[in-house]
């Protein structure tokens, strides 16, 4: 018997009423994500990736269909599943410690301090405990937001283009950091991106979306173990496959 999926998306559709007309953004999406799996949702800009993630996260209500997590229908945001925004989600009035400890208000002081110290170290922000976000670089703010999410020990993480605002070097570093953190803390991760390389580097499976109204075009399994060799024939073959699916020739 196979274990039940962690996340199960069933017949999900989303239409937004705009003045006069209605735009259809998502059209009958079906997807199952296994416990501990890292799934990348890849698609062209404006196709509805963020909308999908917001519905799964409980921040938006779908027009029809359902999302189940642990076989329970999602009714709203929940601290067991944390959404990570593009670095702008950190609280600018709190220090690094204050941000990491933000969701730990139910814990006693000692345990709180211990968890803060652990996660500050895990994301490599030791020495910056008392710094304010405006004193951190973009990559450090992003790590801070990841630490704040991990500190409440969620079992699902939603990441919406978390590294999109970073430069290409920092982005590469952050990806390997994410993979390192994932080895330490087994989480189910839904990762939205429009970067094909990013999806091949990170994902167990890549879900390719069509343009709006978004449907799932194809799900590609990334059958490579970590660390992945970015110049191996398999990597290049998978990248080309995804490029083709997105509808881009691999020449510029």
């Amino acid at each position: 018997m196979t274990p039940p999926p962690k996340v199960s998306i069933r017949g999900l559709s989303m239409r937004f009423p705009t003045d006069g007309s209605v735009i259809e953004v998502l059209s009958s999406i079906d997807l199952e994500v296994k416990d501990g799996e890292l799934v990348c949702i890849l698609g062209p800009s404006g196709c509805g990736k963020s909308t999908l993630l917001n519905i799964v996260g409980g921040f938006l209500k779908a027009t029809s269909g359902a999302v189940l997590i642990d076989e329970q229908e999602v009714a709203g945001p929940d601290p067991r599943r944390i959404f990570v925004f593009q670095e702008r989600g950190v609280f600018p009035w709190l220090t690094v410690e204050g941000n990491v400890g933000f969701g730990l208000f139910r814990l006693g002081a000692a345990e709180r301090a211990e968890r803060i110290a652990y996660y500050v170290k895990l994301v490599g922000l030791s020495g910056f405990e008392n710094a304010y976000p405006q004193e951190l670089s973009g990559g450090m703010k992003q790590r801070l937001e990841v630490a704040r999410a991990l500190a409440v020990n969620p079992d699902v993480l939603f990441l919406d283009e978390p590294f999109g605002a970073l430069d290409s070097i920092t982005r590469l570093v952050m990806r390997s950091e994410l993979l390192r953190i994932r080895r330490a803390e087994k989480k189910t991760i839904l990762f939205v991106t429009h970067d094909i390389d990013e999806s091949v580097q990170l994902a167990d499976r890549v879900v390719v979306m069509s343009t709006r109204p978004a449907t799932i075009r194809r799900i590609v399994e990334i059958d490579m173990s970590h660390p992945r060799d970015l110049s191996s024939p398999r990597y290049i073959a998978l990248r080309d496959l995804l490029l083709g699916e997105i509808g881009l020739a691999h020449k510029i």
Binding site: D78, I82, F85, R88
Partner: protein
């Protein structure tokens, strides 16, 4: 050099003032030295301390009452959009009415005395503070609200732990401006509604024998205290937990 510039500008102004005072025909307008003597006289008679304390007392009460009522009210109105829709038109109608226009009514309600003056100061700070708090809530970035909700914060907690700190930089600016207005209003209120304080000093010195040296001495004190109050509020904006809100 940086300090020298304002210093020499002030000195030049004092010299011009001195020369002008000595060229006038009426002889009523005091020169800087006479003003200084007037200040010392007030100090010796114990009036300066008494009046400064009286004015600050009224401002403290009127302003504090406004802060503790307007900020929670404004935050709540900004949060519950329906409250805002209901009360905003009334607020916008009351705001353009100068607090000084309320002087007759406040004397009618509270008689001549401290309470009338405190009421005027309260009004002068309350309306702009409420409006500012309301706006500040509206400007809280939605991502921060969502993050707060995601971590399971209840509504009251969200108000205290996310909305208030996110709104604080804007609130501090409003607090600074309205303290300035409160200080303007206390002087005006004291000219009519009470018989102590720096505003009273100014009217009284003129009425009781054209003592324009004391009039200007009172004005100088008002300016100095206003400056100190504003500098104090400016220090708040430099706090690290707030600095993020004022750009780079």
């Amino acid at each position: 050099m940086k300090r020298l510039l304002p210093f020499s500008a002030t000195a030049a102004l004092l010299i011009v003032w001195f020369l002008a005072a000595h060229r006038q025909v009426s002889g009523l307008f005091p020169d800087p030295l006479q003003v200084l003597k007037g200040l010392l006289e007030l100090l010796r008679r114990g009036l300066l301390a008494k009046y400064v304390v009286a004015s600050l007392f009224r401002v403290t009460w009127g302003y504090s009452l406004a802060v503790v009522t307007a900020i929670p009210l404004g935050l709540l109105l900004g949060w519950y959009k329906r409250g805002e829709r209901a009360l905003n038109p009334l607020l916008q109608l009351l705001r353009p009415i100068s607090p000084l226009a309320w002087i007759p009514i406040s004397i009618l309600w509270f008689g001549v005395g401290d309470v009338a003056a405190i009421f005027l100061i309260f009004l002068a700070s309350f309306l702009p503070l409420t409006a500012a708090a309301m706006n500040a809530v509206r400007n809280v970035p939605p991502t921060l609200l969502r993050a707060g909700r995601n971590f399971g914060l209840s509504n009251p907690r969200l108000l205290v732990d996310v909305i208030l700190p996110a709104a604080l930089p804007q609130l501090i600016v409003a607090l600074r401006i309205s303290l300035g207005v409160a200080w303007l209003v206390v002087v005006a209120a004291e000219m009519i509604a009470v018989n102590s304080g720096l505003g009273f000093l100014i009217v009284d010195a003129r009425n009781a024998g054209n003592r324009y040296d004391l009039v200007v001495a009172g004005m100088v004190m008002i300016g100095l205290i206003g400056l100190v109050l504003d500098l104090g509020m400016q220090q708040l904006e430099k706090m690290k937990a707030l600095k993020w809100g004022y750009g780079s």
